[in-house]
């Protein structure tokens, strides 16, 4: 009897965890930021399209599943046309036009270029693919979308399971990276950031960073601390906004100091998955309050 009660309680908790209704604007924020990140990747890849995707480029093709668009094209004209179409779909995703189709296109595109050009794949390509898949299986939403004007408004609240998939993915990203970094002697002694700032990934590689040893050590340990605590803060309702500010600090810092700002951009949809209706109310009521005070 007791076991049955416990099982029923666990089931109810799981049900609430996955299906509790949430403001549809959260999905809209994820979708819009995903569209912008995808557009940035298409623009980044454009100058490399012949090298990475064309038959006379550097990469020999492997067998791709039939549903991946790059399986079917390898000439310069066709690859260019495909990328222009994908850029268009990225804009559609951002503004919510034919949302389901656009999101599917972005996911399949991310999956296919990552497969064709796997030796040139980066962490943010994986993020684009994983966020795309989670959005594709998420509920249909019409908030902040052109679709709402064309096809009528959708529900104001929807189940949150798609956001849970994204939140889980964010937790995995940080957990794995911290797991791998912690045993490294350079992260431990705080020298990591000095080397990073002198490296190919720095916006200003210089010997000056060696003289900033203490600041670099604090930045190294601070990064580790943020990567460790951000998921915990985000999953703790009272500390959630602190987690979002931690993410802005960490990824804003990466975007400013390094040449891999694309990674920061592609993390935005994962952080957006932790927003709630209160965040939108807080942002939208602020100008009204300021006007009233004035």
């Amino acid at each position: 009897m007791r076991i049955a009660e416990l099982a029923s309680r666990a089931f109810e908790l799981a049900r609430r965890f996955l299906f509790e209704p949430i403001d549809a604007r959260v999905y809209a924020a994820v979708r819009a930021s995903y569209g912008l990140a995808s557009l940035a990747i298409v623009i980044e890849l454009w100058p490399m399209r012949k090298l990475l995707f064309c038959a006379d480029g550097a990469l020999v093709r492997t067998d791709l599943p039939f549903y991946l668009p790059l399986r079917w094209v390898d000439s310069e004209a066709a690859v260019s046309a495909l990328m222009i179409a994908m850029g268009m779909f990225a804009v559609f995703t951002a503004v919510g036009l034919f949302t389901r189709v656009s999101t599917a296109a972005m996911y399949l595109w991310a999956f296919s270029y990552g497969s064709v050009a796997s030796p040139a794949e980066t962490g943010y390509d994986a993020l684009a693919r994983l966020v795309g898949l989670a959005l594709l299986v998420s509920p249909t939403i019409r908030s902040w979308s052109v679709d709402a004007r064309l096809f009528g408004p959708g529900p104001a609240e929807v189940p949150r399971y798609g956001l849970r998939l994204l939140q889980w993915q964010l937790a995995i990203v940080y957990a794995v990276t911290v797991w791998l970094k912690l045993p490294d002697p350079y992260w431990r002694n705080g020298e990591f950031m000095t080397y990073f700032m002198m490296s190919i990934f720095s916006r200003a590689p210089s010997a000056v960073w060696v003289e900033w040893g203490r600041a670099m050590a604090l930045a190294s340990w601070g990064s580790l601390l943020l990567e460790t605590t951000i998921p915990i803060l985000l999953f703790t309702p009272r500390a959630r906004r602190l987690g979002i500010w931690g993410g802005i600090l960490l990824h804003g810092g990466i975007a400013i100091a390094s040449t891999i700002g694309m990674f920061s951009l592609c993390m935005v949809p994962l952080f957006a998955a932790f927003l709630t209706a209160e965040d939108f109310e807080a942002v939208m009521s602020r100008p009204a309050k300021e006007t009233a005070v004035a």
Partner: protein, 172 residues
């Protein structure tokens, strides 16, 4: 019913995301990952968050293709296909050419395919009677970072080395 199916899918997806990160070198081998393997492959859940798990080693990289001839002559070629154009630095291409220079897993196969394609290109451009290259290799000219004490001593942050990919393509 719909919630049950969706819930089961979400739990399975979360499991797959987790075990996609499980290295095959644990005592479990591939056992834990096995139930998710097909889904990971066909849904594109492959992921590796090995970003900066240790320090970066380079201030810059510059790949060059080297065509070797039987006579002992060596000719440098640009690595950018099509057209064997000179290297133009883009952050993503650092990953590509570093992976071709120190290839692991599938990257050795990709590197070989790349160099064989270059072989075909160079051999096809040779005029009748001219010498064909016997092999094509990849060299990475690297500005390698010095250690912090060395930077203090030398006043410069890097020194130049020439690294050769173990993968070459025979053009004969």
């Amino acid at each position: 019913m719909r919630e049950g199916l969706l819930g089961a899918f979400c739990v399975y997806h979360m499991g797959a995301s987790l075990f996609a990160n499980m290295p095959p070198t644990t005592a479990f081998g591939g056992e834990l990952r096995a139930p998710f393997e097909t889904y990971i492959a066909y849904a594109g859940l492959k992921q590796a968050w090995t970003m900066f798990d240790t320090i970066p080693y380079f201030k810059s990289v510059h790949p060059v293709l080297v065509a070797r001839y039987r006579s002992g002559r060596e000719v440098e070629l640009g690595p950018m296909l099509p057209g064997l154009k000179p290297y133009r630095h883009l952050t993503r291409l650092t990953a590509l050419f570093v992976r071709f220079t120190w290839p692991e897993g599938d990257n050795a196969w990709f590197a070989r395919g790349y160099l064989q394609r270059v072989c075909g290109l160079v051999a096809g451009a040779v005029a009748p009677g001219e010498e064909r290259p016997s092999a094509i290799g990849l060299r990475l000219d690297v500005e390698r970072l010095r250690s912090i004490p060395e930077v203090r001593r030398a006043g410069s942050i890097s020194y130049t080395t020439h690294e050769f990919s173990p993968v070459t393509a025979s053009c004969e």
